[in-house]
Symmetry: D2
Subunit: 374 residues, 4 copies
């Protein structure tokens, strides 16, 4: 693991998710750019001190030299965004597989280069768009893939949050809040944080390609260069229309990511805040509520749950699905075994690239007040 020093809550998600299925063990890390913090974290985690490093470069160097049996199967990157690219590059050049937090990198240039590197060095690469790890998002995907919704006409995605205070001075916020600092997150804040998840959810669930975007962005924090709020009109290649609404400043919203997809035969709706339910409505029939952990769900979905019906699973389990599937894919390749039928169900470097491209085009649309092709 690179990043995730004391106090990083995102890294905590990653570790709990990785550990849940007893298939992945954390054995080495460079947890902070400050060596003493990295060592401190290693102690907290009871790691072998020899494999706790003062910098990611040192880690890449030393771990690459270990014999095959001891070598890391993959490296998990949970640093702030601006380090994703250099860290990933360092380890890819040494042949390591990578699991990287989202958004992939800082901008489209880095994304393009990273995509090339991954292809060239032929490593496995996952991006933790963790929300597509939820079982009922998978049920939605499967129902659409099988044509149960008919032709898709409209897609509405929202990612509504409230983690940026609007009536505060940007300077006081910035101190603690790297997400609003262009130097650390790149060309966007809300889009990078939320929009990339929303775009990934649309792609994953609908299987449709976004063709064009028109965007209206806004910073509601005075002095803040980066947007906190965005509404994006979508036109899909198949003729469907859609929108993504996302925001960091909506009082009362608690990580409210949701998607509604309307087809000619049926429609569906899924909300991350109530993740075990998928509402499906067919023409001239009553609404149907699919619930997680039941036998009537699709095989892809049942493969992604661990408990019986009525025993709710949630965020950590969804996250764990990404880790587990990636780890199984890594293992299958390592031992040249055949992977399980659903082991490739995790977001890849291409999905990460797609997110960066989307952000790039959304910003372009806003700056030019015009539709921009994806």
């Amino acid at each position: 693991m690179v990043g995730g020093g004391p106090g990083s809550y995102v890294a905590g998600f990653h570790r709990k998710a990785a550990g849940l299925d007893e298939e992945i063990e954390l054995v080495a890390g460079a947890f902070s750019s400050k060596p003493e913090k990295s060592y401190e974290m290693g102690k907290i985690l009871c790691l072998n001190p020899e494999r706790v490093y003062g910098s990611y470069k040192e880690m890449a160097q030393r771990e690459a030299g270990l014999p095959d049996g001891e070598k890391l199967d993959f490296v998990s990157i949970v640093t702030p965004n601006y380090l994703h690219f250099p860290v990933a590059k360092e380890f890819i050049l040494k042949g390591f597989n990578i699991l990287c937090d989202k958004p992939l990198v800082m901008d489209l240039n880095e994304a393009t280069e990273l995509l090339k590197l991954v292809k060239k060095h032929d490593v496995l690469f996952a991006v933790t768009y963790n929300y597509t790890g939820y079982p009922m998002a998978k049920q939605a995907k499967e129902m659409i893939r099988q044509g149960m919704l008919g032709d898709i006409l409209k897609v509405i995605v929202e990612y509504l949050c409230n983690y940026v205070p609007v009536n505060t001075d940007i300077k006081s916020i910035k101190k603690d809040f790297w997400r609003l600092d262009p130097a650390r997150v790149g060309s966007s804040s809300c889009l990078a944080d939320l929009g990339s998840h929303a775009e990934n959810l649309s792609n994953y669930v609908t299987g449709l390609k976004i063709e064009r975007v028109f965007a209206d962005l806004k910073s509601f924090v005075s002095g803040c260069e980066l947007e906190n709020d965005a509404t994006i009109l979508l036109q899909y290649k198949n003729g469907a229309k859609g929108s993504i609404t996302q925001s960091q400043v909506l009082t009362g919203e608690e990580n409210n990511l949701n998607i509604r997809v309307y087809g000619s035969k049926a429609s569906l709706a899924w909300y991350q805040n109530n993740p075990a339910v998928l509402s499906v409505r067919f023409l001239d029939k009553p609404e149907v509520l699919f619930k997680a952990n039941n036998d009537y769900l699709e095989p892809l979905v049942k493969n992604s749950t661990r408990l019986p019906p009525g025993h709710p699973e949630a965020f950590i389990e969804a996250f764990a699905n990404i880790y587990r599937n990636f780890a199984r894919t890594v293992r299958a390749r390592k031992y040249m075994e055949e992977a399980g039928p659903f082991d490739n169900d995790f977001p890849t470097i291409e999905d990460g690239y797609s997110g960066m491209n989307f952000i790039d085009k959304v910003i372009k649309s806003f700056k030019t007040s015009s539709w921009v092709d994806i």
Copy 2:
């Protein structure tokens, strides 16, 4: 009443709504452009046959000649859209007060002329944007008016329906379905039907002015000139952002009109499908659910309900609020009494005009792919 012959369900709403509070009596009508159908309807309604007319012109002529005690207090217009203007004009010229179904008229030109006529002849004029008759929409309005939400940052309005079949030939639909026929509804279908309600709800609840719009429209019925689906980006004069999403083709949606308003101190959400509940979320506090018919609601709200808590009121009662308030305003003027403090709480000719102007600008934006000022 003009319009509302046998089989018109909208007219049925109007009559039940008008009759609910035992303050309004239907005494005359021209119910159809076919005289025999009008007479038939008069019989069904047990009206005095002398006051059932074969045409609205005949009705206007004869009713205008009645002595003051017998004369109609106001005329209710429930015809298809293309007749709103000529019928209203005919009666306004004879000095009658008018209550007219929405959208006001066919296009902005008619709206402009009608607004002038109403001003010149100094008649009272209501438009049945019935959804703002719901008590909890009024609670939302009052809380915002009193500043409980702080500065408004974002407004999201949706009006999602499913009454146009997408896989049918336009000709077979049109026969029964005047709402898709430009000759009868004017320059828009979905916007006229749904968008005008959504715009009115935003105006009524938030009290904010829409400054600019950017729209993406779509017809999902092959051969249909008019749009069935629209997503409209909004910029408000106060700097808030927003959107209106509306559609006639969303499988499973049953008249799903809803509004969410986000302010710097609190946010609120109201859904017409669950009309007795208003969700309010304050910064750093738990969500609060205001419920209709309770003592803790604002006076404007309590004035609009008839039953104790837990005895649900719904569509007819909301519609009745528009009728009742308008009728009381008419009566107060007639008898030169002071109107009650909330009697002016109904949509007026200005609101009707605002809706037509909004539709006009939305279409312009779509045709030019650009932001258009309201």
Copy 3:
């Protein structure tokens, strides 16, 4: 109408419900035991003063003498409970049909006598158990009647309210609150008010007979002779188990009447507070939500609604269904026409009697701490 003077809100429900479908007209009344109040109410309602009476006896006397064309089709009784019996008796003896508010009468003796009178004089008699007028309660009934739930195993009914303050002196309450006064409501308060509705809902929806009851009652108002709270265990004739929980003192509950029925093949749940939805869950299938006003509902249900999907109907419309069906049955008999297929869908004297018998046995069970046969 007998009862329903100025300030009676229950009578207001009755009048709005009766008037909704334009099939019933209020033409005469004795609205209060105080003649001047009765006359005042007659004026408010714009009735012909000759048919507004100072007492129900005077009304029965004079109305019975009117010629057939003018005579009342039925009498609606909306007095406090203790007058139901004498008023009904007076009018039955003169051959009038009766619609009476619930509970039927004060105790089982009165109920037995009234049942005999109705049979002997062969009048039509309805009891306004208004909650079984809701369309989705009818959908529940139809699904069970058709065997879609399989064998019924368990029935859970609740009627949870909060209209009696617990920390107040009984004397100060009683002054305004006849519902706690044995002289005016009979042998029970909560059971008469709420329990009879709950029992009727169980009977109507399930079609099952209750065989035995065991009850625990409680007064939470110091000095109050009558119970405010009851939990009743039920054993049904078919072997099913069940319970009715009801209360007047549950903080926050707003007229929360609900029923859940569990069968070997499926189960269903309906809540009066959200009346347009019926949840049905089948073995090994996802939950299904039936919604009011849709085409897929049973004919009995569609016969009971007036608006299109998504246009919510509620309390008044449910109440109106009782009035309308009873009025149509009265009319069919009067003109010796065949009644419509669903016109007999209203609660009768037998249902009213059943309620009084249930209350009687519940009290007996509580007093003896033993199971009592119904």
Copy 4:
């Protein structure tokens, strides 16, 4: 760990829960009464084979002889019910702390003896009533403890499930289904499985003592000696009334444990199926929804969550709270440190005993058709 061989899903919950916070490590086990299955499970879990045992007696013997640094801190018992007592006894006699699955044992005699043993040998003992590990159940408890609900008047607890098929032969079920076999579960099935959780939830949340019970039980499986369904009337020592409804045969119910508590000032409701929400309703105020992971919650609650608002936690996390608090209590005692302020927030041997006593009295009430004192 004792019990939890291949295929035991309950043991899987335990291991995931124990591992979640990286504070507990599984180091030894006797996973099955069949030695080869135990060894197989040890391999799956990558345990040191020397600490995987063929029987719990062997395990107790050998582990007791290990030096202090290596000795187990506590033993987790996840066997079928009939082994809880002998296994616990074996380890208690050797001085081990115990965490035991619920229900505590087979009957009240065993419970009484076990309670004595625990006292005598002064070991720490936890029972995994895991549902009281949910944060919002803790919020409910805290609000009641602080008097925010006023005097408690009524408590309604339900535990509704559907894991026993009603139309099958008991013999074919029994083969796979030890929960219906008296030899393995004791004197009750549904009560042991579900009722003990319900009783514990009532005790934990309300802090009230149940004084008397009256019960109606039923087996819906032909040939089944043990009940599948129970409704229990409760009288609390403080004068409150209540009920527990529980069942194994309710079609469509998915582990639906819920509690509603009504007080003179406020009431609350919590549902395990939607565990992150606690509804609270105050007199004359709107309903309030407390949501997990927010800053406004009580310290006890915040101590029990791991993620930010809107990142749902669920079953595993609730279970983990029991494990974590017990483990911290064990550790504090071991190192003679002061325990954290909330470390004692786990169900103890007394809670386990209380559950067995409750079951005993419920069965007695049913057999005698009378109220039985607790």
